[in-house]
Symmetry: C2
Subunit: 212 residues, 2 copies
């Protein structure tokens, strides 16, 4: 009567995201969701197949938001007339760091969720959302005057993303809170600086080199 089906679904997702963000995966409970949404436990399973389904849906929203944050950061730089590759890459990394800090529970929960099972089923939707980010990075790299063929640029974009991701997630696993931010920033700056210099001075990259 008051809310139609879809609206309640959105409400459930909003509640679920708060729960995840506050207490991590363990805090996402069917009964809590039902209580806070003013529906019964059964109804939760009426809207979503599983709790996993709820979590997946929350994760989709997070990935969309992350992509939007990256795109917004680029749009902002464009508007300010900044095309420098280093600045753009740093802005992207910074956007990611801010995103992670803004989602202290739900983002780790997304990462943990993906690691729970060897992903038997469709990671397709996830990948699609992530490709959006790779596209942005690849676009920035295309703006530099490195001579990279499409394939190498694609690899480089994914490598940069994975590296920043590794730095951020490793960085937040331990250490005192204040040291973290500094260390992460330093690592990101080093990575970006080294990466750009490496690409500039890099001739042809071997696609299947001698691996020792």
């Amino acid at each position: 009567m008051a809310l139609d089906r879809e609206e309640i679904g959105e409400r459930v997702l909003a509640i679920a995201e708060v729960l995840l963000n506050e207490g991590g995966m363990d805090n996402l409970k069917a009964r809590t969701i039902a209580e806070q949404a003013g529906i019964s436990v059964g109804s939760v399973y009426n809207l979503f197949s599983d709790l996993d389904g709820v979590h997946r849906a929350v994760n989709m929203r997070l990935l969309e938001r992350l992509g939007a944050a990256g795109a917004a950061a680029m749009a902002d730089l464009s508007q300010r007339g900044i095309t420098d590759v280093r600045q753009r890459l740093l802005a992207l990394a910074s956007a990611y760091v801010r995103f992670v800090e803004a989602h202290p529970g739900s983002w780790p929960a997304l990462l943990a969720f993906n690691r729970r099972r060897p992903t038997l089923t469709e990671p397709d939707a996830y990948e699609a959302r992530l490709d959006q980010l790779f596209e942005i990075i690849a676009g920035v790299l295309a703006g530099g005057d490195f001579d990279l063929d499409d394939h190498t640029r694609r690899i480089a974009a994914r490598t940069l993303w994975s590296s920043v991701h590794g730095i951020v997630t490793s960085g937040y696993a331990g250490r005192s809170v204040r040291r973290q931010a500094d260390e992460i920033d330093q690592q990101i700056e080093l990575l970006v600086a080294v990466f750009i210099r490496g690409l500039e001075h890099g001739g042809a990259f071997a696609h299947a080199g001698t691996t020792a």
Copy 2:
């Protein structure tokens, strides 16, 4: 009578590791451990405070094994008279990839475990094990003729580690199985190549640069 306390503890850990490796975190159940170890559920809690305690202990073993694998890879190269930085870094990365592949369930479980809660308690022991790895990488970097002060070298070592870690963990989250290995190898080769070139051509690194 047959086994003393410590031996049973080891047995429990071995069982727990197999369970984790086969089915991830969800597969680590007190009753399963008890049954397979031939003891009662209560006894598991007699040996370890929690199931989390069991998992932590398994994780410690994994980190030790990882450190040993890295050290062994370096020892092997030394014995073969190989001092080339690129080859050493690739060998380290390769050792990590092989380690992850050899622990398809328990290693993701370790990562997921660390992400479950914002690590309220002591990550000290974890960090100590990881520092062992950073030392190895820093040692390799010191072997190159980049002029890096100690601080920058330390950051660079951690950055390299985090990047490889990010590449490997991102790489195994999706995609077809065969493409993964190739893509990961390519990303690692690009990372190492670019990193070395970047460090070679890098003058002084700004410790707190203008972040845009």
